[in-house]
Symmetry: C2
Subunit: 206 residues, 2 copies
């Protein structure tokens, strides 16, 4: 791992803020320079072009986001604990970076190349694929008749969708329900509880 000078760090910090907020096209080198407390020429001195600076930020942010996400899911084989940990961990990660979902879903659809590489590295190349682990836990739970038969892919999409939605629809939600603050810890706690209850009752055998 290379060492970064103080200036490089300040640039990357500023670039991250601006790119996540405005996207690749909407970001302005001038704004990044201003936030970093330097001028445009230095940006190019350190990172050569906007494209290269963006790739650097994108790779680091997406990689560490998914890595943190995977690490936050517990390794337990107990299904209830697993699901609770999954929901809690995912929501905590999203709350820590409320802009990431929007950024990723938008920017990835603009250009998949960098993302595909990252995703495969993180999810598939590791010796014990977390994704596979999740699927196995659910398969076993169905096998042992702890939960009803269900389509595991769709179940995962359901779980992820419920976690992700408020961060995605934040402007809509806060306009329609002015009392709600999506980033508040109260909302987060409620959310964890409501998702788990719906899911748990929705899949366990009656």
């Amino acid at each position: 791992m290379e060492k970064l000078t103080d200036t490089e760090q300040r640039i990357l910090q500023a670039a991250t803020e601006v790119f996540l907020e405005k996207g690749k096209e909407g970001a302005r080198m001038q704004e990044i320079a201003r936030k970093a407390g330097i001028n445009k020429a230095l940006l190019h001195y350190y990172f050569r072009s906007k494209e290269q600076l963006y790739q650097r930020v994108f790779n680091y942010e997406v990689r560490s986001f998914f890595a943190a996400l995977l690490q936050s899911v517990p390794q337990t084989r107990d299904l209830a604990q697993f699901l609770k940990g999954f929901i809690d961990g995912y929501l905590d990660q999203l709350a820590a970076r409320p802009r990431m979902v929007r950024f990723i879903s938008w920017e990835i659809s603009q250009d998949m190349t960098a993302f595909k590489t990252i995703l495969k590295e993180i999810l598939l190349e590791t010796s014990d694929s977390p994704l596979h682990h999740w699927i196995t836990i659910l398969e076993e739970a169905i096998e042992k008749e702890i939960i009803r038969p269900l389509n595991i892919h769709h179940f995962l999409f359901n779980l992820l969708g419920m976690c992700v939605y408020p961060f995605l629809a934040q402007p809509v939600i806060e306009t329609l329900f002015p009392t709600i603050r999506v980033n508040s810890s109260e909302f987060l706690q409620e959310r964890k509880k409501e998702i788990f209850e719906l899911v748990w009752r929705g899949i366990t055998k009656t």
Copy 2:
């Protein structure tokens, strides 16, 4: 309602495609002109500026999307029918415009002004607010003990999140699970079934 010339229609059609795909910042007037089979000068002749063309497209698309969404939800007071209709209707609308979720969630966060106006018009100014109707149906079902007590706001977010997620995460999903085609009718049918089952079992009294 004003009449549109053939050229105006072709421009709006092309502009819609480009703006939904690339966003306001990423869109290029040159590309819109090319798709419409004309040149840049005509774009400005008809719509004066990129900003005005964008506002025109944004207003029309967002408005008709939400309007179609609300109309697709049945007026029935039977809860199971209501939920089925809600899920089916929402997913059909999303499938018809698979880019809309990404576009709205990204572009709105860049500038809320136009969106707030539209949302209030559609959802709150109508004599019988559909949103209020949904909440009432759920409140009554809790009252009558058809379903367990739950937080209605969070339940709506859960429902919407499950519907929306595949369209948002399409690139991720199709990379991780190459057999899945998010826009296929098979996937759509599975999705409707799996969401309803999870939700119905998740909220009804046991």
